[in-house]
């Protein structure tokens, strides 16, 4: 069976790369060091493929057709596009996809009762572009993104996200032994973005999430309702669904928090977490 050789959780925010200069140097340095350490560990794990649990920001999926879960089948992903690159201030580039692998996941999911949508064309925003800028600067590892609706309510429940992640983990373990797969989930932790409370961060909520992740005690996170997350973690906090999905794929694995900082200037409670058996 194929092996899950690495797993990581990170925040994503366009300002992490778009406006590094406005953040406090000690916070920026800590987080950038966390990203660089994730890069080092990920490279050492020599993955053939990154399966990424992420969410769209209305860049791709419109209100006329909004998937709860969507498997990417693109040959390559804009990460970022030239338009997004201007705002994120990182070079535009294409990251290779793995459409055959994605199709196998999709077909297996549908057969098992996970009714994924699928997409052959995705322009990523910060959900892929910013973390991959740090994690795979060489751009050599293809990605299969699994998009979860975290930003256009009503949203799938955290429990369902966990079940989807568990399915993805089981699917990977059913694959040929030669495959080395790394998992990366991006988003969160607390942030209020675009709402009247834009800029608010809740470090208490962030610490609670990180503590649960560190202890592999995620049932309390799975039980969170959308309203509870919105109240304590903001609309951006809904993105912890991606983390919950990843943790569903690697039951019992614990998070090692490499860096955390509530970066007011990036309007995000930012973390980088390595997850291991």
């Amino acid at each position: 069976m194929a092996e899950i050789v690495a797993a990581a959780l990170t925040s994503h925010a366009p300002l992490i790369t778009g406006k590094p200069e406005v953040s406090r140097p000690e916070q920026r340095d800590r987080l950038y060091a966390g990203f660089h350490e994730l890069h080092r560990r990920l490279a050492a794990a020599r993955p053939d493929l990154l399966v990424m649990f992420v969410n769209d920001h209305l860049q791709n999926f419109p209100y006329s057709n909004m998937p709860a879960f969507c498997v990417g089948l693109a040959k390559a992903y804009d990460a970022p596009s030239p338009g997004g690159a201007r705002l994120m201030r990182i070079p535009p580039r294409k990251i290779a996809g793995a459409p055959e692998w994605g199709m196998a996941l999709l077909e297996s999911g549908l057969a098992a009762g996970f009714d994924f949508a699928y997409s052959y064309e995705i322009e990523s925003w910060d959900e892929l572009s910013v973390p991959l800028h740090f994690l795979t600067p060489e751009g050599a590892v293809p990605v299969v993104p699994v998009y979860t609706n975290c930003g256009a309510p009503p949203l799938p429940t955290p429990r369902r996200c966990h079940e989807v992640g568990a399915f993805v983990g089981a699917f990977i373990r059913s694959r040929p032994a030669t495959e080395r797969v790394a998992l990366v989930a991006t988003g969160g932790i607390s942030h209020w973005v675009g709402t009247p409370e834009t800029g608010r961060i809740n470090p208490d909520f962030d610490q609670r999430v990180l503590d649960h992740v560190a202890r592999a005690d995620i049932e309390p996170l799975i039980r969170l309702t959308r309203d509870e997350i919105e109240r304590d973690g903001g609309n951006g906090g809904q993105e912890i669904r991606n983390w919950i999905a990843l943790l569903g794929a690697v039951p019992g694995w614990k998070g090692e928090v490499l860096a955390y900082a509530p970066v007011a200037e990036w309007i995000t409670g930012c973390a980088t977490v390595w997850v291991h058996p």
Binding site: L58, Y63, S64, R86, G194, P196, T198, N235, A264, E265
Partner: protein, 71 residues
């Protein structure tokens, strides 16, 4: 129950996808869109709080009216 304005989100999605940032929308921007008076007024004023309360998606508000946010 989630309050969402499809009309607001439709016009904001179209602008966000073009990577256009606006301070306020004009009559030209709004042409052909089926908006309530309150929605039209909020878009023309660039009133980000009003847009939120009228059911615009906050990510789209942020993308299109970036200049309206102090941070």
């Amino acid at each position: 129950m989630i309050a969402t304005s499809y009309a607001l989100n439709k016009i904001l999605t179209a602008l966000a996808r073009q990577h256009l940032s606006k301070d306020r929308l004009t009559d030209d921007d709004l042409a052909g869109h089926d908006l309530s008076e309150a929605e039209r007024a909020a878009l023309e004023a660039g009133d980000i709080a009003a847009l939120y309360h009228l059911g615009a998606n906050p990510y789209l508000i942020r993308r299109v009216f970036r200049s309206r946010f102090p941070i």
